[in-house]
Symmetry: C2
């Protein structure tokens, strides 16, 4: 049961960006498993990708094609085309070539994305066979269908949309995402596609997607595993009637940046809310660090501790486990006597020890909630980091142990 994740909100069309869906029967017959996205001529596309050394063939291709003014994105579910060697790369290339020929662009103008089972060869022919079907229903209004079309083991489609005013013009930012663990059993991947009709210079768009991913998709964790296929793409069609944003310090950049970051954060958090077996949505905030890295080290130590995650599942305010995780996070010369820890507004640890006025009842009340913030004050400096995670439930073990059986 997703935590605080409802039906899709209204997803505003983005002028110049169309989406088409098809069923290729890659893993199951009748399922929508192919999505084609088309960006109008003149669009700019930027992206960030998994850092996993075993990145999948489509990720390698995407990185190469990004420099060649891509116009099309081709997504399939049911097969990750990862760990498939040269035949996998050839299959990915073939799908790009087939789509390119149908729409009369160069093959390097197609960005391929695959998600699903690792280690099985991509059934390129099945995908190629349904490309005309996907192209035939390309429409700017197809965001919701596309959100479903990129799902694998997600229990709900994920989307977010905002409109802002830039120079008196309405500019739209709409995005979809998928993923229900950082990596599913054999099902790899977190994917995100966000489009806007804003006009923005390519270097700024690349900077924006990197900054926004670092505050969203790169700040969520379910089980600490990093997929071979993770990709997040930001497309700007430039169809809005506005002056191109070329200055990082401009008000327009700031406004667009805030909106894009807001959309991407909501898309990323939706993945956590739909996390495997999740019963809790947990915000981990680390303040007072001497630098960003030590804030992140502490936050990840807490987020990845199976003991804390099982305590969250059990609604058990087990503050000793949080202290222990902070203690082994590897922060150099950590002075534990400066550390305060809060569950929401309840101070459970003050100056490294149990807070004198803390009662188990206060802690149990917060831990009983579906949404919980663990706040750690390090007392070392001015830096902060926040990330989002889930608990570790019986259901997580069941999903991941029984997936292939």
């Amino acid at each position: 049961m997703p935590v605080g994740l409802g039906p899709l909100p209204v997803l505003h069309p983005v002028p110049g960006f169309r989406l088409g869906i098809a069923s290729a029967g890659i893993k199951r017959a009748g399922r929508k498993d192919v999505v084609v996205m088309e960006a109008a001529p003149g669009s700019v596309i930027a992206g960030v990708f998994t850092t996993n050394a075993f990145c999948a063939a489509p990720v390698t291709l995407c990185k190469q094609h990004l420099a060649h003014h891509p116009r099309y994105l081709l997504v399939n579910t049911g097969n990750a085309n990862a760990g498939t060697g040269k035949p996998g790369m050839q299959a990915a290339v073939r799908t790009c070539e087939a789509l390119a020929e149908l729409v009369q662009v160069g093959p390097e103008q197609v960005l391929p994305f695959s998600t699903g089972v690792i280690g099985e060869l991509l059934p390129a022919d099945k995908i190629i066979a349904v490309l005309p079907q996907a192209l035939a229903n390309l429409a700017e209004s197809n965001w919701a269908e596309a959100a479903e079309g990129i799902m694998t083991t997600d229990t709900l489609p994920k989307g977010c949309s905002r409109q802002i005013s830039l120079g008196g013009q309405t500019v739209t930012i709409t995005g979809i995402s998928k993923g229900a663990g950082m990596i599913r059993p054999n099902m790899a991947t977190m994917l995100g596609y966000i489009a806007t009709d804003a006009k923005i210079a390519p270097p700024l768009l690349q900077r924006l997607v990197k900054e926004a991913a670092d505050l969203s998709f790169n700040r969520i964790t379910i089980d600490g595993d990093t997929s071979t296929n993770d990709s997040c793409m930001l497309i700007a069609t430039g169809q809005a009637d506005m002056v191109e944003i070329i200055d990082y310090a401009s008000a327009d950049y700031r406004a667009l940046s805030d909106a894009v970051k807001g959309v991407m954060l909501e898309l990323a958090q939706a993945i956590v809310r739909d996390g495997e077996g999740a019963t809790k949505f947990v915000t981990i905030q680390v303040n007072g660090g001497g630098n960003q890295d030590e804030c992140l080290d502490v936050a990840y130590a807490v987020a990845h501790s199976p003991l804390i995650k099982t305590a969250l599942f059990a609604s058990d305010p087990n503050w000793g486990r949080i202290l222990a995780a902070v203690g082994y996070a590897g922060v150099p010369e950590l002075n534990v006597e400066k550390i305060d820890v809060y569950l929401d507004e309840v101070c459970i640890t003050r100056q490294g020890g149990r807070a004198a006025d803390y009662t188990e009842e206060q802690g149990a009340r917060v831990m009983g909630q579906e949404e919980i913030t663990i706040r750690i004050e390090l007392g070392r400096g001015q830096h902060s980091e926040t990330l989002w995670t889930t608990d570790l439930s019986h259901e997580y073990v069941r999903i991941n142990a029984e997936y292939r059986t």
Copy 2:
């Protein structure tokens, strides 16, 4: 159910080292929860401790006392005396003073150890009250009782004993350990006590315990959490009729070192075998690394991946998860095309892709075993590292989620 862990073997007495047991009723009435160990005058004691910044009061005291020719070790279960601030430190000091007065040594000659619930004040008076009882039954033959006396949530006591011949004399190495996760819910700690009657110079003994711990207690992981109380002590009474070992390059040092390392490895592995909810005992061996660190990074990435651990629980030869973990371990410029992965003797991945001759049946056969070796060949150099871990089962979640309820 522990994996491959039987009743205690014969634990040979170590001349010059006596153990006494008492029941203080710290957490439960009638349970043996206090152990006193006495090393004869002239003994040398060396140790390694948790690196957790939130180390418990007794750990801090132990480190201070080690320089003062300690003669007594005082262990209590039921309370970790961690996260207890100044009152906790005062309580630990009081127990040392009380034992010191009874046996007429300085308080700094007592090493205190606590394991149990975090964050509750140590009931020093209860411990002090039973010290005469523990002293009254001090005996060299009490190893098995002491192994039970230091248990908390362990399902079985853990001990190991070896005898070797040095210069025609029999030398004994006997040890006990406790721990069933790297850290239990509120129950902290891995503890190890190994004694020998060998004569060895203090600097060599310290070097030996560090080396041996790095190959044993520092190479096991159940959930990646590092306790606030972990301690491993090596005691040499010097009562064997032999020439003192003063040379690191000597045959005697090598023989003693091999035996101590063997005992400590068996004690450490026993903790994994008794790991929380463990159904599998898993050896992770990484060969062909460019240095030790990258071998360890890969081994820990595999050992800590919840996806791999649940696949082990499910006996599912899910090689894609292993590849993904190797890929995100952070090895710089990893060439995935050089990587081979084996389950026992079955090659599942060759040159970064699924081995051509691999069948699911072969993988399933190995994964169905209780003891499994995952071997990863990096093809980058000559370094190797090995560590030991367990699977992640429903029972792990149950134990850790329901511990305090």
